[in-house]
C-alpha cells in the first residue's frame, strides 16, 4: 500500500509537470493557434490527480485539485485559458506540490471573476473522464472482451459446462463494473443488458445456448469494445439501444426496462464529449505498453552487479590466456562480448533525457521575466540528449543559477534593448548535445554580455587581481574572473541573483562531477557558457599507480600529464621539492608522504611524477610506478571514512583486490594548503578546452642533427618504445606489429637526410602519428619532452619540404616537422592521390535541423574530415571567431533562425582572411533567384538538399580547387 502511495505521488508530480508545460505553451501561443491539445493536457492532469486522490482517500488534495479543475472548466467552450489566469494555475500547481510533499500551502482560490459561475454539471465531469482513463483499464477491457468472445465461440459450438458460463458472466460483470466506475454510461448499460440476458441460462446445470442469443452477444461484444474505446456518436448510441432491447428479449422484459432508465439520463452528457473525444488516449495507452516503472534502487543494484560481472569477466579472461583449452578460450571470448554489450545496455537504463530538467526552466524564465519586467524567450535545443540520472540531478542547480543569471544580468530591459537596436524580446538558448563521450550544455543569451572594464574594476576592488596585471589579461582570463569566489558584478544586489555566491559555486559543482565550465562573451552581444559533463559517474577512466605496496586509481580527468625525470632535476625550495616543468614551478608531493605523513623524499634512480590538476592548481605527485589505465567502477566509501580526505572512493581491480581512488583535490588541500595563491593558478593552456587553446603543443624529439625537432602534438596519437628486435621487414619497408595491425616505420633521419647513427640501440623510440586514418611510426633518436609554447613561429627559413618552419624560443631554434608532407614524401607512389594530398580538412557545418546536421557531419567525418557544427548563423559566426584556425570549407543552410545563410555568407566574406574560403549553400531553395542571391551573398556554390548525395563530391571539388588556387 505504502509503495503504491509513493508511486501515486510520483505520478502526480509527473502529471503536474505535464500540466505546467502545457500552461507555459499556452502562455507563449500566438493568438489563433489551436489551444485544444494544451487545454486537454492540463485538464487531463487535474482530472487524473483528482481521481487518484479520491481513490487514495486524500481529501485535501482532491478538494484542491477540484477547485483548479472547476475554474478550468469555465473556459471549456473555447478550450483556451485566459492569460491572466495562467499564473493563478501555476501557483495552484505549486500548492498541489506542497500538498503532495505534506507541506502547508496557502493558496487563494479567489480569482477576480466568475467565481460563482461554478463548473458544469457533475455529469459532464464524469463524461470527461473517458478522456483520461488509465491505460490499465483499456488493457483489462481488451483482455476481458477477448475472453468473452472466446467463451461465446465455445458456446456456439455446442453444449458447454456451467463453469464456462460462470466465467462468461464474471467477465461481463467486471467490465460493467469498470465502465460504471469510469462513467461510460452506454457501455455499462450494454454490458448490463448482456449480463441480464445470461441470467436465465446461468441457473441451468448444462447450457445449450440459442444460436440467436450467441450471435447477439458476439455483436454486443464488438459494440462494447467500440463504445469503450471510441467516442460514442449519436448513430452508435442508437445501435447500442437497439442491441439492449434485443438482448432483453432473451431474458423477458424486466431486463430491458431496467436497462433503459439507467442509460437515458446519461446519454445527453456523453453527447457533449463525443465530438471532442481525443485521439491521444490510445497513443498514450500504446506508450505505456512498452515502458514500465522501475525503482532507481533496483537500477543501482543492477549497476553494481554489472560491475561485479565485469570483474569476473576480467578474471576469466586473464585465466583463459594462461590456458591452452581452445574451447574455454572460445567461450571466454563470447562471455567477453556479451558482458560488454550487457554493460552498455545497463548503463542506458540509467539514462534520462536532459529535457526533464531543461523544460523546468521555461517556468523559471517566465516567472523571472515577470519579476524583472523583461521580455525573455527561452529556447531549448537537444532536450532528448540523454545522460545519467544522478548527473542530471547534479547539473540542475548550476544550470538554474546560470539561467537566472542570464535573465537578471544578461538580458536587458526591453527599452534598453530597443535602444541598442535589438528586438525587445531577449533570447536565452540552451543547447544540449553529445560530443566525444561527453554531454555539452551550451547556455547563450543575446543580452549585454560581460563588460571587460566592469569585471576588471570589480576584480581590482576585491583584490583578486592587481591593476598592473589587469592590463595584460586576455579577454578569456577576464571573463573567467566571474568564477572567482565572492565575485559579483551586479550593480545592485537583487533577490534574483547578484550576491556573489553564484558562479564560483557553479564551477565547483560542475567540476565535482568531473565536468568543465567555460565562458565567453562579447560586450553588447551576449554571453555564452559551456558546460562539459561526463555521461556517467559510475564508471570512470583512471590511471592506476603504485606507491610502495599499494595501488591507487587516479581519475583521468584530474590527470594532466606524466613526467619521468632524473632525481637531480628535483630542486628544493625551503626544503620542499619542486620541479621546473617547462619553466614553471611544479610543487611536488611524495605519495609516500601523503600516506605516512612523514617527509620522506629520497633520492632514487628515476622519479615518476603524475601531474595533477586540482581546481586549477597543478602539482606533481611522486609515485613509484605507473601501472596502467583502466575503466574503473567507482564504489563509495563508508560514510565515516569521508573525513579522511585523501580518498574519494574505492574500486575493485582486475585481480579482485581493492584499490583506493585518490581524491586529488583533497590531497592538494591537505598538502598544498593555502600556499597556492590565485596568481599561481595554472595558465589557461591546461584549463582550456582542447582546441581552443591559443598555445601550440609539440612533441620535442632529437634527431641526428643539432637542432631539436618538433612534431605537432595534434598529429601524434601515441609515443611508444619498442624493442628494436621486433622490427620486421615487409619488402624494403620496415614495419612492426602494432595493436593487431602493421605499423610502417619511417626513420626521420633518413627522410631528412641526416647522418644516421649506425649503432642501433635495443630500444627504438617511435612517435605514432595518424595521417588520413593511417598510422605511421616515426622513428626518432630520442623523445625529449612535450612542449607547450606561445613562442614566435617563423616560416621564412624552410630547408626541407616536410618542414613547416621554426619555433624561435629564448635560447634555441626548433625545427617544426610537417607530418602529412613527411608521410607523403616517404611514400610517393601510394600517397599522391588527390584525396591524400588534401588530407583531413576542417569544415564548419551551419544547419539548424539536427538530423540533417548529424547526417552531413557523419558523411564528412567518414571521408576523414574534421567537422565542427553550428546551429544558426550567429552560432556559426561565433564558431568562426573562436576557431583556432580558419576553416577550410563552410557549409551552410539558408533558412535558419536568428541569422540566415545569406546574411552569414555576407558576414563571412566581410572578414578579410575568409575572402576565398569555399562556401557551400546546402538548402531546399532552388529557384534561379535563390541561386543569384546565394552567389551575391558570397556563396561559392549552391546544392539542393534533395541532391544531398552529391555533397561529398562537391566538398572535395571545392577543396581541390581552393588548394590549387592557394598553392
Amino acid at each position: 500500500m505504502n509503495a503504491e502511495f509513493e508511486e501515486f505521488k510520483i505520478e502526480i508530480l509527473e502529471m503536474l509537470d505535464r500540466a505546467e508545460k502545457a500552461l507555459l505553451e499556452f502562455d507563449q501561443m500566438p493568438a489563433g493557434q489551436s489551444s485544444k491539445p494544451c487545454y486537454d493536457e492540463v485538464f487531463r492532469a487535474y482530472h487524473n490527480i483528482k481521481g487518484g486522490a479520491g481513490m487514495m482517500d486524500w481529501a485535501d488534495l482532491q478538494h484542491h485539485v477540484h477547485q483548479l479543475e472547476n475554474v478550468l472548466m469555465q473556459s471549456k467552450e473555447t478550450s483556451s485559458i485566459p492569460k491572466h489566469l495562467i499564473s493563478w494555475f501555476l501557483k495552484g500547481n505549486d500548492a498541489t506540490r506542497a500538498i503532495v510533499a505534506g507541506e502547508a500551502q496557502s493558496f487563494s482560490y479567489d480569482i477576480q471573476e466568475n467565481d460563482a459561475a461554478a463548473p458544469g454539471p457533475v455529469t459532464e465531469v464524469r463524461v470527461e473522464q473517458a478522456e483520461a482513463l488509465p491505460s490499465e483499464f483499456y488493457a483489462e477491457v481488451d483482455e476481458g472482451l477477448e475472453r468473452i468472445s472466446a467463451t461465446l465461440m465455445k458456446l456456439d459450438s455446442g453444449v458447454v459446462d456451467k463453469s464456462v458460463l460462470e466465467a462468461l458472466y464474471r467477465d461481463i460483470h467486471s467490465i460493467k463494473g469498470a465502465c460504471q466506475l469510469f462513467g461510460l454510461a452506454d457501455a455499462s448499460s450494454l454490458s448490463h443488458a448482456m449480463e441480464s440476458s445470461l441470467e436465465k441460462e446461468r441457473n441451468k446445470e448444462v447450457v445449450e445456448a440459442e444460436q440467436g442469443h450467441v450471435n447477439t452477444l458476439l455483436m454486443s461484444v464488438d459494440m462494447l469494445g467500440q463504445a469503450i474505446k471510441e467516442p460514442v456518436t449519436e448513430a452508435t448510441r442508437k445501435e447500442i439501444h437497439f442491441m439492449i432491447t434485443l438482448l432483453a428479449s432473451f431474458n423477458g422484459s424486466e431486463a430491458a426496462v431496467e436497462a433503459k432508465p439507467e442509460a437515458k439520463p446519461e446519454v445527453k452528457a456523453i453527447a457533449v464529449q463525443a465530438a471532442s473525444a481525443p485521439g491521444p488516449v490510445t497513443s498514450e495507452a500504446d506508450k505505456s505498453d512498452t515502458t514500465i516503472r522501475v525503482q532507481v534502487s533496483l537500477l543501482d543494484r543492477l549497476m553494481i552487479l554489472m560491475g561485479e560481472m565485469v570483474l569476473v569477466r576480467n578474471q576469466v579472461l586473464q585465466y583463459s590466456q594462461k590456458n591452452d583449452d581452445l574451447e574455454f578460450l572460445n567461450l571466454s571470448q563470447k562471455l567477453d562480448v556479451v558482458t560488454s554489450e550487457l554493460q552498455e545496455e545497463t548503463m542506458k537504463t540509467r539514462m534520462q533525457p536532459i529535457g526533464n530538467i531543461l523544460s523546468k526552466f521555461q517556468r523559471v524564465v517566465r516567472d523571472l521575466s515577470g519579476t524583472l519586467n523583461k521580455k525573455i524567450n527561452l529556447n531549448l535545443v537537444g532536450v532528448e540528449t540523454e545522460l545519467d540520472k544522478t548527473l542530471i540531478e547534479a547539473v540542475k542547480d548550476p544550470l538554474t543559477h546560470i539561467v537566472r543569471n542570464a535573465c537578471d544580468h544578461g538580458i536587458e530591459l526591453p527599452e534598453q534593448r530597443l535602444a541598442a537596436g535589438k528586438p525587445d524580446v531577449g533570447t536565452i538558448t540552451i543547447r544540449a548535445f553529445h560530443e566525444g563521450g561527453q554531454v555539452i550544455v551550451d547556455i547563450s543569451d543575446d543580452g549585454k554580455g560581460l563588460s571587460r572594464q566592469k569585471l576588471l574594476n570589480k576584480a581590482i576592488e576585491r583584490g583578486i587581481v592587481d591593476a598592473a596585471r589587469a592590463e595584460k589579461m586576455s579577454d578569456r582570463d577576464v571573463h573567467a574572473l566571474i568564477f572567482a569566489p565572492g565575485f559579483s558584478t551586479a550593480e545592485k544586489v537583487t533577490n534574483v541573483s547578484g550576491r556573489g555566491v553564484g558562479m564560483d559555486v557553479v564551477k565547483s559543482n560542475i567540476e565535482r562531477i568531473g565536468g568543465l565550465v567555460d565562458i565567453s562573451s562579447s560586450e553588447d552581444e551576449g554571453t555564452h557558457i559551456t558546460l562539459k559533463i561526463p555521461l556517467t559517474l559510475a564508471i570512470v577512466p583512471a590511471m592506476i599507480i603504485r606507491s610502495s605496496e599499494d595501488r591507487f586509481a587516479i581519475p583521468q580527468v584530474k590527470l594532466v600529464e606524466l613526467v619521468r625525470i632524473e632525481p637531480a632535476m628535483v630542486e628544493l625550495v625551503q626544503g620542499r621539492p619542486i620541479y621546473r616543468l617547462r619553466g614553471n614551478i611544479l610543487p611536488l608531493i611524495d605519495m609516500k608522504e601523503v600516506l605516512s605523513g612523514v617527509e620522506s623524499f629520497k633520492e632514487q634512480e628515476a622519479i615518476n611524477i603524475v601531474v595533477l590538476n586540482s581546481e586549477g592548481h597543478l602539482f606533481g605527485l611522486i609515485v613509484d610506478e605507473i601501472l596502467d589505465t583502466a575503466d574503473i567502477v567507482v564504489k563509495p566509501l563508508a560514510r565515516f571514512l569521508k573525513p579522511i580526505s585523501i580518498y574519494s572512493g574505492a574500486t575493485v581491480l582486475g585481480d579482485g583486490s581493492v584499490a583506493f581512488i585518490l581524491d586529488v583535490v583533497g590531497i592538494a588541500h591537505k598538502h598544498l594548503g593555502h600556499a597556492v595563491h590565485q596568481d599561481q593558478q595554472v595558465s589557461d593552456k591546461y584549463l582550456d578546452f582542447k582546441g581552443q587553446s591559443e598555445s601550440r603543443e609539440y612533441v620535442l624529439v632529437s634527431l641526428a642533427a643539432k637542432a631539436k625537432h618538433a612534431i605537432p602534438l595534434g598529429m601524434v596519437s601515441r609515443m611508444e618504445e619498442i624493442k628494436t628486435s621486433t622490427i620486421e621487414l615487409s619488402g624494403n619497408q620496415r614495419v612492426v606489429r602494432y595493436r593487431g595491425g602493421i605499423l610502417k616505420i619511417l626513420n626521420l633521419n633518413e627522410v631528412f637526410g641526416y647522418e644516421k647513427a649506425e649503432v642501433q640501440g635495443e630500444i627504438t623510440q617511435l612517435i605514432v602519428a595518424r595521417v588520413n586514418e593511417q598510422m605511421y611510426g616515426l622513428e626518432v633518436d630520442q623523445i625529449i619532452d612535450v612542449l607547450s609554447t606561445q613562442d614566435h613561429f617563423d616560416d621564412s627559413v624552410v630547408s626541407h619540404e616536410a618542414i613547416t618552419g621554426n619555433l624561435v624560443t629564448q635560447n634555441e631554434i626548433i625545427v617544426v616537422i610537417d607530418v602529412e608532407k613527411l608521410v607523403a614524401l616517404a611514400q610517393p607512389r601510394t600517397l599522391q592521390l588527390p584525396q591524400a594530398v588534401n588530407g583531413p580538412k576542417r569544415i564548419l557545418v551551419v544547419e539548424d535541423t539536427e538530423s540533417i546536421r548529424q547526417t552531413i557531419v557523419r558523411n564528412l567525418e567518414e571521408s576523414g574530415h574534421e567537422v565542427e557544427t553550428a546551429v544558426d548563423g550567429i552560432d556559426g559566426l561565433r564558431r568562426i571567431a573562436n576557431a583556432r584556425a580558419n576553416y577550410d570549407l563552410i557549409i551552410s543552410d539558408i533558412e535558419m533562425p536568428r541569422m540566415n545563410g545569406f546574411e552569414l555568407a555576407r558576414k563571412i566574406r566581410s572578414i578579410s582572411t575568409l575572402k576565398s574560403v569555399p562556401l557551400i549553400a546546402f538548402t531546399t531553395k532552388n529557384t534561379p533567384a535563390d541561386f543569384k542571391e546565394a552567389r551575391d551573398a558570397g556563396f561559392t556554390t549552391l546544392l539542393e538538399k534533395s541532391k544531398g548525395k552529391l555533397l561529398g563530391v562537391l566538398v572535395s571539388e571545392c577543396l581541390n580547387k581552393n588548394q590549387r588556387k592557394t598553392a
Binding site: D550, S596, P643, Y647
Partner: protein, 158 residues
Amino acid sequence: MSQFFIAGESESHGSMKQFATFMVAGRWYGIDVMCVQEVTKPMQITLMRTAPPFIKGLINLRGQIATAIGLRELFSLPVDGTQDPMTVVCKVEDVLLSLQVDSIGDVVEVSDSKFEKSPQTIPGNIKEFMQGVYKTDQAILSIISLDTILQQLDKRCA
C-alpha cells in the same frame, strides 16, 4: 520456522534472542544475529593508511566493499598481532562492516529474562559499546551494539 520455535518457548522463558558470538582478546562478545551477513576466513585487506588504527582497510566481498574494523583497537584492548583474525561481516544502516575478531563462537539463543545491564566496573571505553550482558550457563556474554559502533566510527574519524 525459528519464529514458531520462539513462540513455543516464550511461555516459560520470556522472548528469546539469538546472538552470533566471537572472541576478542580472550573475551566473549555477541551481536544480534540478524545484523550478521556472513562470517568469513581471513581475507585480503587493502590497507587504509592515514586512517585511525581501528580502521584496518577495505575488503572485497564479491564486488561489494566492506570496511574492516579492528575490534581490539576500537575497544582499546591489547594488540599482540599474533592472531590471524576471522571476520564477521555485518550491515548497519547500509554500511558494510567487517569486524576483525580472534575466533568465531556458536550462535547462542538466550532468553530476555537472563539480560542484565553492564556491570558498573567495566571500563568506559568498552562499556560504551555494550548494550548489556546475558547470563548463560557457560559464561557471561557481552552484547555489542552495532549502532553504537557506527556512531563511534562517525565521531572518531571526523
